[in-house]
């Protein structure tokens, strides 16, 4: 069943359509929330809040638009709210688990680099982290990211640029790419 059919099913009150959408998106929603909050339990809560909000307002989803960005917007807002309450950025990623995973993705098989990137993510301001996660983890277009985080397209570009510069200036990446900072147009 196509996503549009599932959305129409939700609008008609079909419970199985809700559940199917949930099953399709719950992993990415959880991982997005995890990247934003850095805490498993916070991420689960943000995921749940995001789904509830997205489903409750699904009637406002414009016809033909995808459910994913609609959901991610709710997840981002839920994660923001939780972070605002918690005011903390906990230990996020399991190095041991990553090492145990041992598999590369898209040619990134260097655990040092992966670890350095993820470490650097922790140190980013929340607004830059959101943009980087949405833009580079979820592969959303910049315009979609702008709509989700609620800012202008230019702001998304500048946040992405600043966030990546900060990533580039992290010790692990500086070691990996000694000339990176010099190549930034800033």
């Amino acid at each position: 069943m196509s996503e549009q059919e599932l959305v129409r099913g939700c609008l008609a009150g079909d419970e199985s359509s809700y559940e199917e959408l949930f099953n399709r998106y719950q992993a990415r929603a959880l991982r997005t929330a995890y990247a934003l909050t850095g805490d498993r339990s916070e991420a689960e809560d943000a995921k749940q809040e995001g789904f509830v909000q997205a489903f409750k307002t699904i009637h406002r989803l414009a016809p033909g638009h995808e459910f994913g960005p609609w959901l991610y917007r709710s997840v981002v807002w839920a994660a923001r709210n939780r972070a605002r309450k918690a005011r903390r950025w906990r230990e996020a990623f399991s190095r041991s688990a990553a090492a145990a995973d041992g598999t590369g993705a898209s040619g990134i098989d260097d655990l040092d680099l992966r670890g350095a990137l993820v470490d650097a993510l922790r140190g980013l301001p929340a607004d830059q982290r959101e943009v980087l996660v949405l833009r580079f983890y979820l592969d959303l277009p910049e315009a979609e990211v702008a709509a989700i985080v609620g800012c202008a397209l230019g702001t998304v570009k500048s946040r992405a640029a600043r966030g990546l510069r900060r990533l580039a200036s992290s010790p692990g990446l500086a070691w990996r790419r000694p000339n990176l900072e010099e190549s930034v147009h800033a």
Partner: protein
């Protein structure tokens, strides 16, 4: 442009995304995640005494139901006034001979269409433009009991409630003597009127002038005929259709 990414930064962005995907692949949702969401989004649906589905509805449905309810109150008041003032009053309110004595009213019982047909002896024809016109509720009207405790025809009638396309609700009551005891259209965009068609009291609804959207009446043979033509159909089509059914 100052904030555009250099090629190296763009590469770093892609590598960052790949690294993050590899890390987050280890984060798997636990079992049973749907249950708490379901509890907050999907509520059990039940048929209320008003015949509508209850439970959590999108906001536009709340608004629509509120509009229907407000329009229903207005239309009911208007219909009551029109019925009293209408020359068709004697036909609309014609009492069943056995019901001429004062009666004690009892609550109507909701039932399904087939049961209503079987017990009431009515022949009910389905709406013809389903699902735009939707039968919401069928009720058997309770036996009328005189003050002397004498029960008359049981059940004494059928009440049908249809929701038409748009925001209209049409309620028709048909007594077992074949008379239409009342028919009311609730809604804001159509005018309904009781008319005599070939000697039969007929409730006709219009979407526009001369464009019939629904007709319903009870014949002398205690047959209920409910027919809805599509919006935009000329009245003659609806009349022919109902004549054909008869």
């Amino acid at each position: 442009m100052r904030d555009e990414l250099s090629q190296d930064l763009a590469v770093l962005g892609r590598e960052f995304g790949a690294a993050l995907r590899a890390e987050l692949a280890l984060v798997a949702p636990g079992a049973g995640g749907w249950a708490p969401v379901r509890a907050r989004v999907v509520q059990p649906v039940r048929i209320t005494s008003a015949g509508f589905r209850d439970g959590r509805r999108p906001r536009w449905r709340h608004q629509r139901m509120a509009l229907v309810a407000a329009a229903a109150l207005t239309a009911a008041a208007l219909a009551g006034g029109i019925a009293l003032a209408s020359s068709a009053r004697s036909l609309i309110l014609r009492p069943h001979p056995a019901q001429s004595a004062p009666t004690v009213s009892q609550p109507a019982q909701q039932t399904d269409l087939r049961t209503a047909e079987a017990t009431a002896g009515f022949h009910i024809l389905r709406v013809t433009d389903y699902p735009r016109a939707r039968l919401v509720k069928v009720e058997t009207l309770p036996p009328s009991v005189t003050e002397q405790g004498v029960s008359v025809a049981a059940p004494s009638g059928v009440r049908l409630t249809y929701m038409l396309s748009g925001q209209n609700v049409i309620v028709g009551e048909f007594r077992s003597d074949g008379s239409a005891s009342g028919a009311t259209v609730f809604g804001g965009d159509r005018q309904g009127a009781l008319e005599t068609v070939d000697g039969h009291q007929t409730y006709v609804t219009y979407s526009d002038t001369g464009q019939v959207t629904g007709m319903m009446w009870a014949t002398a043979e205690a047959s209920v005929v409910v027919g809805f033509g599509g919006p935009g159909q000329p009245r003659s089509v609806a009349v022919e259709f109902v004549e054909h059914l008869r």
